[in-house]
């Protein structure tokens, strides 16, 4: 021992900042947004935050467009910039812009936006009443929102399990908080937040456990490295199976697949409706992006082992989703179970294990996302004196009182059911045909059956809205400001456009090609 260790210089990390520009823009804006909270006077905060959020999201989209066609690994191969990653990131960003429009709305509720004036005030207490009267609002929602979007951009693009785990936490943590900030029915909202947090932490632990198993097998976190280790390995892959199963639990929790769906109805019901809309769409996109990447890039070599597992999960997810949705009496819970069923349909694209599977999954996510945002926007408009009127019986006869809003909601329901000339039909057709080509015909048969059941309960709501007598003291439809109106218009336009003219987006999804290793 001469006491001195021969120091090997650490190579300077090579970060091509241009290739992760969308990430940088969103995270940078999130940091500025935190500073805005600290330094801008209360009266001006909302305006500054809104400018910052929309400007940064649009700038990120622009940066993403500039990256189109790039196919490379960057940031020491921890981020993949390839077609599917860019497509998913684009979808997340566009959905986030529409989601931000919903979050920014504050003329629906007479008291202000959808968030509690101060989360630390006792629900129903004197302080809360005073703050509401003074028109306070919690602008901290915006930095949290931006951090969440940043995590969602990184999640489907991560090329190693470590980065993916960090991204998973970055996108989850703000959501746990945002879910608990509802202005109305705050106890329900706080309960939702706590449930989501505990179960989410649990699922993250599963993800981490799976990561450890795969690391133990391959000696690397990198998805490509795991694939190499798998192809060089003969037999004896207990660690891999365990790792795949545990990793899948973590990811399937995020996409709300049965049996990891228990949190979904409670959280969707309790969270502020704009946050529910954001959560139901963007989280699904990001999580399916990550699921596809892990399964296709790292675990493609053992697809014969995980495919049956996903077959079963897809089947029970679709069936449980549609069957339990029939029994729901709350519109938000009904939409939650419908989103569980849709997770099952989207899984069809994953089990196809083909390029068409990737393309159809991505198309489905985009189509479903815009319709869901629109549907939740409508839910936020139907109100009575105590807030949103979410009980189904209160929606009776809505079509007679407000035919436009009921008509828009009908369009979204038809899209969910997969009726032709809506985006839902095209996307269901795309995943079904990809799954049949991938040899999953039995699952597709179940999926068609589930679609029929789902059409039943969507139709039931349409009948309730248009053919039932309006309740005496029923809710009224509030006239929204330009924010929600724009979000609704985008939702309607995309849903119709993707139903009538799906080819441009389908082509784009197909051009995205396969994942880069």
């Amino acid at each position: 021992m001469n006491g001195l260790i021969a120091l090997v210089p650490i190579p300077t990390p090579n970060m091509d900042l241009g290739q992760i520009a969308p990430l940088e823009i969103v995270f940078g804006a999130a940091l500025i947004s935190v500073l805005v909270e600290a330094f801008v006077r209360r009266e001006g905060r909302r305006r500054v935050q809104l400018v910052l959020v929309f400007a940064s999201l649009i700038a990120a989209v622009a940066a993403l467009v500039g990256l189109a066609g790039t196919r490379t690994l960057t940031a020491q191969a921890s981020v993949a910039v390839d077609g599917p990653a860019l497509f998913m990131q684009g979808t997340v960003l566009l959905l986030a812009i529409v989601g931000a429009l919903l979050i920014a709305e504050r003329s629906i509720d007479p008291a202000g936006d959808a968030f509690a004036p101060r989360a630390s005030a006792l629900p129903g207490g004197r302080e809360e009443r005073e703050l509401t009267a003074a028109g306070w609002s919690q602008t901290e929602v915006w930095p949290l929102f931006l951090f969440c979007v940043g995590g969602m951009l990184l999640f489907p693009a991560s090329n190693d399990l470590l980065t993916m785990f960090v991204a998973l936490e970055v996108l989850s943590l703000p959501l746990y908080l945002l879910a608990g900030l509802a202005r109305r029915r705050r106890l329900l909202s706080q309960e939702a937040s706590l449930k989501y947090f505990l179960l989410g932490a649990f699922s993250s632990a599963f993800f981490l456990f799976g990561t450890a198993m795969l690391y133990g097998f391959a000696g690397t976190f990198s998805l490509g490295g795991i694939a190499d280790a798998l192809s060089g390995n003969a037999g004896d892959n207990g660690l891999v199976m365990l790792g795949v199963a545990l990793l899948a639990v973590g990811l399937l929790f995020k996409v709300a697949a049965v049996p990891f769906h228990q949190w979904t109805p409670d959280v969707y019901q309790g969270a502020p409706t704009p946050i529910t809309a954001f959560m139901a769409t963007c989280v699904k996109v990001a999580a399916f992006g990550a699921l596809l990447r892990v399964m296709y890039v790292a675990l493609g070599g053992v697809r014969w082992d995980w495919q049956p597992m996903l077959w079963i999960i897809a089947i029970i997810t679709m069936l449980v989703g549609v069957i339990v949705a029939i029994a729901q009496t709350d519109i938000k819970r009904m939409l939650a179970y419908s989103s569980i069923a849709h997770a099952g349909f989207i899984l069809l694209g994953v089990i196809a294990v083909s390029e068409a599977g990737i393309a159809s999954t991505m198309f489905y996510l985009a189509a479903y996302g815009f319709a869901t945002l629109g549907a939740f926007a409508v839910v936020s408009l139907v109100r009575d004196s105590s807030g949103e009127a979410t009980h189904l019986s209160q929606w009776a006869g809505l079509g007679k009182r407000s035919p436009v809003v009921a008509g828009i909601f009908t369009l979204f329901l038809l899209a969910f059911a997969g009726i032709p000339l809506t985006s839902g039909f095209t996307s269901k057709f795309a995943v079904f045909s990809a799954a049949i080509a991938g040899g999953a015909t039995p699952v597709v048969i179940v999926a068609v059956f589930a679609s029929v059941i789902s059409a039943f309960f969507y139709a039931r709501i349409i009948v309730l809205m248009f053919f039932a007598e309006p309740a005496e003291e029923g809710p009224r439809v509030v006239l929204p400001s330009a924010f929600t109106a724009l979000a609704l218009a985008i939702g309607v336009a995309v849903t119709v456009l993707l139903g009538v003219l799906p080819q441009p987006l389908l082509n784009l999804a197909q051009q995205a090609g396969i994942f880069l290793r």
């Binding site: 020491q76 960090v166 000696g219």
Partner: protein, 270 residues
């Protein structure tokens, strides 16, 4: 044949084996204690024990830095913060142990057992690539150097993005706990006005009476007109009815005393 246990036995020397069996069983006992103890503080202390033993295991395997971080950060900082929180919330508040779903605990126990058996079954048959900490440390000339190369090299982006997590956590804590002042802070003048407007006694209350033979707190003072000042006795004594009667000299006795009549000396003044 090439199960994990065999690999371990062939690679690990006796000292490390002894450490493993002692620390491993203690860590397991700690984990069980954490789950089984009724009181949150006990649980926290049990898990601290588990963490310290895990740290010893890390160090025995040559991961010195990780072991120290485990002790300093997890056991030292995180667990102690956790204890602080428990103390703030109240040590006495224990969770309800009533099952809301029937048979849930049994089902959870069985599922946990099955999961553990599955893990044991799989992991005990696994063969691991034999890199070891020594091999890994050698690349950059040491354990710490190797970690630095990974954190500031390969995983730089993940490391940077972790800061988003910390900021989110800080904002979350602020949102859930911080109360910004709504109305302006009250000045001395406002407090004084408030005190007089409230209609209650504005100043400090009169002290108890001081007499020849009594000056305890239960002795009321007398007002100038000779009536009792009730508020000179603490409210709790008043409520209990424990106010001492005041000995009063009768008017003529006072006259006699003033005139120098000594016959009253030594008698009680009633």
């Amino acid at each position: 044949m090439t199960g994990l246990a065999t690999v371990m036995l062939s690679v690990i020397d006796t000292g490390e084996q002894i450490t493993f069996w002692i620390c491993g069983s203690l860590a397991l006992i700690g984990a069980l204690g954490m789950v089984l103890s009724r009181k949150a503080v006990h649980s926290a202390l049990w898990i601290a024990m588990t963490m310290i033993n895990l740290a010893c295991l890390y160090m025995a395997q040559g991961a010195l830095f990780l072991g120290m971080v485990q002790i300093i950060v997890y056991t030292g900082a995180v667990m102690m913060l956790f204890l602080f929180v428990l103390m703030l919330v109240g040590v006495d508040s224990s969770d309800s142990v009533v099952e809301t779903i029937r048979g849930q605990r049994l089902a959870a126990g069985l599922a946990g057992l099955a999961f553990a058996l599955m893990l044991i079954a799989v992991i005990s048959r696994v063969t691991l690539g034999d890199v070891g900490t020594q091999g890994a440390d050698a690349v950059y000339g040491g354990n710490l150097q190797g970690l630095a190369a990974l954190i500031f090299g390969k995983y730089l982006l993940a490391f940077e993005v972790t800061s988003a997590l910390l900021i989110t956590a800080a904002i979350g804590a602020m949102i859930l706990a911080h109360r910004e002042r709504i109305e302006p802070k009250k000045e001395q003048k406002d407090l004084s006005k408030e005190r007089f407007l409230s209609g209650e006694h504005p100043g400090s209350l009169p002290p108890p009476g001081v007499y020849a033979r009594h000056n305890a707190v239960d002795t009321p003072a007398l007002l100038p007109d000779g009536t009792l000042a009730e508020n000179s006795v603490p409210a709790s004594l008043r409520a209990r009815g424990a106010i001492r009667t005041v000995d009063r000299a009768l008017g003529d006795e006072v006259q006699q005393l003033a005139a120098g009549d000594g016959s009253l000396e030594g008698e009680d003044l009633r």
